[in-house]
Symmetry: C2
Subunit: 329 residues, 2 copies
């Protein structure tokens, strides 16, 4: 295992310490590394809290800040955070308008966020994200997995929360953004969990995992390595089949790197997907390209499309100031 | 070779097409993919132009925009751009105040930028960046290599150019920022150039290349894989030896990923370097963490420190709006 780490037990805490120092103008750490929170909370705003296993950075801590999350709870690598973490985060950042939990659809996350919601004695609601169209049910999931589309839900709901959205309306909005969002990914290599010390799965030198999950879970099929245009066609085709956009539909295109794939290739994928969208009469009106929802050091990428109307686009364009997304301020 | 590409000959053009589409609000492409330029040029400002081989994205095209470069010339992967590219870029973005070329110290880049400067009939000057303290002379270099510190030179000189800095003063500033900046990197894996189809160099499963260059050039020594604290100590030690900062010196800390290393590890390195800086009485006042000056898919990172005074810090903090760096607007 080749990683820039010290002891495997300290990876998360040391990384969070570095993150909190590097972005000390935006975030602070909860005691015991239980959560990352905004340094400054605005009273009266619905508090948005997400979280999940680590290893997907910048998701979620990188999206804490103005216009997105109020707190994020990092579990150990690929392990759900505990209910205590969500509870501590909720108590730290809730200011009277309630808490909206944004949860990726993995069984462990679902259970632990539900327990926290039950324990939390103030108003709260939950949005489940399940944008991965690759497979129904999976290693850690009943139903579809929540993947890179989570950041789009967090961005749009975050913008609405800054605009004084109420808890029930934000939940409705989040569910609506989730329905308008679909993703699918491909792995060219496995990831390696530090505590395991060896690759999560084995791929031949000429193989790829089509429809892979963000923990290296199996996708639809293991196939021979193909070229970027073919990969883009399969991923985009599956996504468009799900979204069934009308001719002329405007979309946000997120080409997300899994951690081991550089920008040169991700932008090439942008070009490949654009050609397909043009052929399908779909118009990409906003782009986001980079390693935003990673799988440790896995090589590969995912494509996410969100079908947008004008209000959704305004929420996307609204100012955001987090470690990983920043514009308009 | 596992990459998201089509034909190896088309990698650069297809990636640039995707980049230009994704960031069409900021940049446009010169004809024949010769250069990436700001969409909107402000007359009377000194034009800043950089460039170099591709494979280091987002450097340089990702730094074109308000507050940094006016144009960037991408060569083929790890290959210098041609003088024709710099000349075409200069003619496209120069508006009467002259051109400052920012050139990383590689023999090919130096020669080709010099030829372009000689052919260009308007005022121009050149800043050479050579921040890599790992080795003197190298595979493609006489003297020290220019690496991740280049982005700090581009950021500060870019801010000064927006503030109506004159050509001679900007050259002096760039040289001063370069002198205040030192970097060193480590590779855990090789990179693979698409046209070569195989790793540039071979590293054993328990080896790393200490002081590696951003094209996979040899560093100081090949050693047994070590832990993050040890790696940080060697890199930071070499940098501090070069900069000889006084006690209490303020610095910018850039922990740069080489393309195959995810944020989880880069932030852990931030923490490791912070501990060392604290021990040396040095204060990191700004941080930048991520894959900014990459080496294709190489795993590893570099550390860069820039010793700053108040005016330099103000230039760093000044608004910037590029594909890869954005704040204050």
């Amino acid at each position: 295992m080749k990683k820039l780490i010290n002891h495997v037990d300290d990876v998360l805490a040391e990384s969070l310490d570095g993150f909190a120092a590097a972005h000390g103008d935006i975030v602070s750490l909860g005691e015991g590394h239980l959560f990352v929170r905004r340094r400054t909370i605005r009273p009266g705003k619905v508090a948005l809290i997400s979280g999940g296993g680590s290893g997907h950075e910048p998701l979620h801590a990188g999206f804490v800040g103005h216009g997105m999350l109020d707190a994020a709870c990092p579990g150990h690598v690929f392990t759900s955070p505990t209910p205590d973490q969500m509870l501590a985060a909720a108590e730290a950042v809730e200011t009277g308008a309630g808490v909206l939990f944004i949860v990726k659809n993995y069984s462990g996350d679902m259970m632990n966020f539900q327990m926290a919601a039950d324990m939390f004695e103030r108003d709260n609601a939950t949005v489940i994200v399940n944008d991965d169209v690759a497979v129904e049910n999976s290693t850690y999931t009943t139903g579809r997995r929540g993947v890179a589309g989570t950041l789009i839900v967090e961005k749009m709901v975050g913008a609405a929360a800054e605009g004084a959205g109420k808890l029930a309306a934000l939940k409705t909005l989040g569910e609506s953004v989730n329905r308008a969002t679909a993703s699918m990914g491909v792995a060219l290599t496995s990831c390696t969990v530090p505590a395991a010390g060896k690759p999560t799965f084995q791929l031949g030198a000429d193989e790829m995992e089509m429809g892979v999950g963000i923990h290296g879970e199996p996708g639809r099929r293991r196939v021979k390595l193909s070229d970027a245009d073919d990969i883009a066609a399969e991923l985009t085709g599956a996504i468009l089949k799900e979204l069934s956009p009308k001719h002329g539909q405007e979309v946000i295109l997120l080409v997300n790197g899994f951690g081991g794939t550089p920008a040169l290739e991700l932008y090439l994928m942008v070009h490949a997907v654009r050609k397909l969208l043009a052929g399908a009469g779909i118009k990409a009106v906003r782009y986001l390209t980079g390693p935003y929802v990673t799988s440790l050091d896995m090589a590969g990428c995912s494509i996410t499309l969100t079908a947008v109307d004008k209000p959704m686009l305004a929420l996307w364009d609204a100012p955001v100031h987090t470690a990983a997304l920043r514009w308009g301020m």
